[in-house]
């Protein structure tokens, strides 16, 4: 029997190992490319084991090193962390396979570098998932930013550099100017960087200041892409599609909302928030973001840009769920991390597949191509349904819980917001399969999609359906998290 500490180590170190080994295999592409999926399988196995132990009521803990008195690097698997860890590691398997197909199909340069930083980003995401204190969280938050920078600027042209600059300046800027002082503020008032299931601030901070501290956190976590600081996400679309998939489904944005949820639940604590109403303003900001970006998404013709705005909107669901400060909404938000990840990664895979197979990136070009790549568009259709929240897709559960949560905390307006946004979702996502299947084809294009791209796309697509039927373990997990509160 492997001890839980070793399990944590296995889970977080296997992507790092992949990252370190890849450069040595740059001359042997096959070995190098197979490394990613293997690492993914190992770390998913670890993540599943960890989740099971959390379901059994354990809380695995690992103290890595002590920097100075009261400052250390440590890992703890919370229910929330277990969910995010699982999402990140499982989806990495498919993303890794997919990226092999994409990179080869597209004949990209600097593939080794790409895989190195790809694995590095996953490593950082997993470390965020299992972060045991605020410092560890912050460190790997930054590592994630820096490791994705070479991925975003992979093409190294003028556009990529510009995007990279925006990406770095927003993410690093916000985190250094706001997130870090917020963390230090918490350190100063509580005297420790630890987090706890019920929040650590209650009784330590004057409730009048709580909204300001919350604001520093909310705007400091640039990766959660709330409205004034969301610009980096569409800009980062210049990256290759596997990166976009990683950014939008697996690692970066999920790390952002995960951090947000963690701060809301484990630093402030839901009770503290509902008692003081410190997060009321956040509810409205998130709702605003949710609607505005949905509307912007309608006007985007570039497929990846539309998906990017859709992502921003979906992230706000999760932030909103946390801000509502009710246990049901928190459950919903946590579930939405999973379901949205599965749905959105499918959509991005499809976008990449279309680009590799048919060299198209505009929605208006897609007219009538549904028949030439039927499986791909079917996958897109199912993924969209999940995002919209139609049963029997996984996405329906999370929306259901979110709405219940909104009702529980008495925000009737928020339910209305959810409804409107669902309609908008349906409009901008359904347009794509509709164009593909029902519009008239304008010109004939030779389509060739590699198997390594099709297979992962279909698997994640199936996952979205499976999630509807096998949501129970996750629900249990979230209820453990909420019951502890």
């Amino acid at each position: 029997m492997i001890s839980l500490e070793t399990l944590i180590l296995i889970t977080i170190l296997s992507p790092l190992l992949v990252c370190l080994l890849t450069p040595f295999l740059s001359s042997k592409p096959v070995l190098r490319d197979i490394l990613g999926p293997i690492g993914g399988i190992i770390s998913s196995w670890g993540a599943i084991q960890l989740m099971i132990s959390v379901l059994n009521g354990d809380q695995p803990r690992l103290e890595l090193l002590q920097i100075a008195e009261g400052i250390s690097i440590s890992f703890v698997v919370t229910p929330l962390g277990a969910v995010f860890g699982l999402v990140a590691s499982v989806l990495w398997i498919f993303a890794a396979i997919y990226s092999v197909g994409y990179m080869r199909g597209n004949k990209e340069a600097n593939q080794t570098r790409f895989y190195v930083f790809y694995a590095m980003a996953v490593h950082a995401a997993l470390c965020i998932a299992y972060a045991g204190d605020l410092l560890t969280l912050f460190i790997f938050y930054e590592v994630l930013t820096f490791s994705t920078y070479p991925l975003v600027t992979h093409k190294q042209n003028e556009l990529a550099q510009k995007a990279g600059r925006l990406y770095m300046s927003i993410l690093v800027g916000t985190s250094v100017i706001l997130l870090l002082p917020a963390i230090i503020w918490v350190w100063v008032v509580t005297g420790s960087l630890e987090m706890s299931q019920n929040g650590v601030l209650d009784g330590n901070i004057n409730p009048e200041y709580a909204p300001y501290l919350l604001a520093m956190f909310v705007f400091g976590i640039g990766k959660a892409a709330l409205i004034p600081i969301h610009k980096w996400l569409p800009a980062a679309m210049v990256a290759p599609t596997p990166v976009s998939a990683l950014l939008h489904a697996v690692a970066v944005v999920k790390a952002g909302v995960f951090t947000m949820l963690l701060i809301l639940t484990n630093v402030f604590g839901i009770e503290f928030l509902s008692k003081t109403g410190a997060s009321n303003w956040l509810v409205w900001l998130a709702s605003f973001t949710l609607l505005t970006t949905s509307i912007i998404a309608i006007y985007k013709d570039d497929l990846k840009a539309r998906l990017a705005y859709s992502t921003i909107s979906q992230l706000s669901y999760i932030t909103l769920g946390g801000a509502l400060a009710s246990s049901l909404a928190t459950q919903g938000a946590t579930l939405h991390i999973i379901t949205h990840a599965a749905g959105k990664i499918t959509l991005f895979f499809v976008a990449g597949a279309i680009y590799v197979g048919a060299k198209m990136s505009k929605i208006s070009e897609l007219n009538g191509h549904g028949k030439s790549m039927p499986l791909i568009f079917l996958a897109f259709f199912i993924g969209s349904l999940s995002i919209i929240g139609v049963p029997p897709m996984g996405g329906s559960w999370s929306k259901f819980f979110l709405m219940l949560g909104a009702a529980e905390s008495g925000y009737i307006m928020v339910i209305a917001v959810f409804c409107i946004s669902t309609i908008l979702n349906a409009y901008y996502l359904m347009e794509i399969p509709a164009r593909a299947f029902f519009f008239k084809k304008e010109k004939e294009i030779k389509v060739k999609i590699p198997v390594l791209i099709t297979v992962p796309t279909l698997i994640t697509c199936v996952l979205t359906i499976l999630l509807f039927f096998f949501i129970e373990p996750f629900e249990n997990l979230t209820s453990i998290m909420v019951n502890n509160l």
Partner: protein, 497 residues
């Protein structure tokens, strides 16, 4: 024998480079003079480590030169405060000497090298002497040794670029004015107390509250040292002096010279005078605090608009000195400790950054500007790697030494002055990302104009690697520097604060 060694450590750590400089000047062989320099700096480093251990046991060592009891004779004081700059200087001195082995022959003609190494040792010895001494006038003498030697070293850059001469000249004149102001201050204090020994002085000025000559003397000393420490707006000599000095000299000066002066500043403010004195609190809040904040921003903004990399780093030094003085100005135990932590870490960071940039200029054989950094990141992976790590450390990202200092600085400022100073610190360090990122982007993303093939030489990058390693090491296990800085701060402001 070991008894004698241990007993005389405080003087030996200075004598070792000092006497060696007298010998090195006579040796015409380049390699031999380098080797002797290396050996003596290494021995000095070992001595400083031994001293550190001694200080851990005895807390404060007083060494009476010539065996004359302190107020009569000159005293060397090594306590938990002064050991920090001693370790910085000897460590950096040793590492830069390794680094200089290829740089010196490249930039300085063969006939002068042994003399240059002699001056090099004198600069190091002067700095060590300056921080060890407990006598206000002896401090001036060693200040002059180090500054004359460093001026001459800076002027050696003229063999590459004539601007070095003007830089050295300004350094000399401004430095001499600073030193003379300091001497006036010491004179005024001496005139009213009759003593030059710092410890004795601090006792005898207690009865002299509100004495005008005391205030003026204090003011002159502080201004003189501020000039030497390049505190805004007395920093004008610094950027050019660092930028046009020969490579190895830039590294040495950037990492050590101002640190010694900053230490003296702390010593005057908190040790000779008393933090509870209104004179000091007023000086801190109304003079040093605003100047430090100005320095933080002025230095950073100048650096953002600078194209010449060595000058850019020098401007950034001005800003970083601002952080250190800001920490002193807040004036609590925690903040002074933060100042010492940053003093140590900044020496490591700036030393490494200058090393990386000057080794690039060694390989490409011209001044490094933003434009000709293009694409060198790939041709010089080791240097580039170290450069990136140390840039991150300068910004203060976690797991690097820079983070520890920022962390303690911010924590101290939040608990003392509220959030706004902390926000200013963070804002200026976020601004510093801009100029660092410009360099990294140029190194990494821009296409080189010509294909340049460079083979990195181990003798050049070894000390860069060591400093980078230390940057990471002190980011992971900061207990050494954090503990010693807190002890130093406690020694300076007393247990009460």
């Amino acid at each position: 024998m070991t008894d004698i060694l241990i007993k005389n450590l405080p003087i030996l750590v200075v004598l070792c480079p000092l006497m060696m400089s007298l010998i090195v000047v006579l040796i015409p062989n380049i390699f031999l003079s380098w080797l002797l320099t290396l050996v003596s700096t290494f021995v000095a480093f070992i001595f400083s480590i031994l001293l550190y251990q001694e200080v851990q046991i005895y807390s404060s060592i007083s060494y009476a030169l010539g065996n004359w009891a302190p107020p009569i004779g000159i005293e060397y004081v090594i306590d938990k405060v002064s050991i920090i700059p001693i370790i910085i200087i000897t460590l950096i001195g040793f590492l830069t000497t390794i680094f200089s082995s290829k740089m010196m022959p490249n930039e300085i003609n063969e006939a002068s090298i042994s003399k240059v190494y002699s001056l090099w040792l004198l600069a190091i010895a002067g700095l060590i002497g300056l921080v060890t001494t407990g006598d206000a006038f002896n401090l001036f003498v060693f200040l002059e040794i180090s500054s004359l030697a460093s001026v001459a070293l800076v002027a050696m850059g003229a063999q590459k670029d004539k601007q070095a001469l003007v830089a050295a000249y300004n350094y000399l004149i401004i430095g001499a004015v600073g030193a003379t102001l300091y001497v006036i201050g010491v004179g005024l204090l001496y005139g009213i107390t009759g003593t030059l020994n710092m410890a004795d002085l601090s006792e005898r000025i207690i009865d002299l509250k509100n004495n005008k000559a005391l205030i003026a003397g204090f003011g002159f000393m502080i201004v003189g040292i501020m000039v030497k420490a390049a505190i805004f707006p007395m920093h004008i000599w610094l950027p050019k002096a660092y930028a046009y000095a020969p490579s190895a000299v830039s590294v040495l000066l950037a990492a050590t010279a101002t640190k010694a002066s900053l230490y003296i500043l702390a010593r005057i403010l908190f040790s000779i005078f008393d933090i509870s004195d209104t004179l000091i609190t007023n000086t801190l809040t109304y003079v040093i605090l605003p100047l430090s904040i100005l320095a933080m921003f002025a230095g950073t903004i100048m650096a953002i608009y600078e194209k010449d990399i060595k000058r850019l780093l020098a401007h950034s030094s001005v800003a970083q000195i601002g952080y250190i003085t800001l920490a002193f100005a807040i004036g609590t135990k925690a903040s002074i400790a933060a100042g010492f932590i940053h003093m140590f870490n900044h020496a490591l960071i700036k030393g490494a950054l200058f090393m990386a940039i000057t080794s690039i200029s060694f390989y490409i054989q011209k001044r490094v500007t933003l434009n000709n950094l293009s694409g060198l990141g790939k041709t010089m992976p080791i240097t580039f790697f170290c450069f990136v790590i140390c840039s991150l450390s300068l910004v203060g990202l976690p797991l690097t030494a820079g983070f520890i200092s920022k962390l303690y600085l911010i924590k101290a400022s939040i608990s003392a002055e509220g959030i706004w100073i902390a926000l200013l610190i963070l804002f200026s360090s976020a601004l510093s990302v801009i100029y660092l990122w410009k360099m990294i982007e140029a190194l990494w993303l821009h296409q080189p104009k010509k294909k340049i093939i460079i083979k990195e030489k181990p003798i050049i990058y070894i000390s860069l690697l060591v400093i980078t390693f230390l940057n990471i090491y002190f980011g992971l296990d900061a207990s050494f520097i954090v503990d010693s800085s807190f002890e130093a701060a406690e020694k300076l402001v007393g247990v009460s604060k």
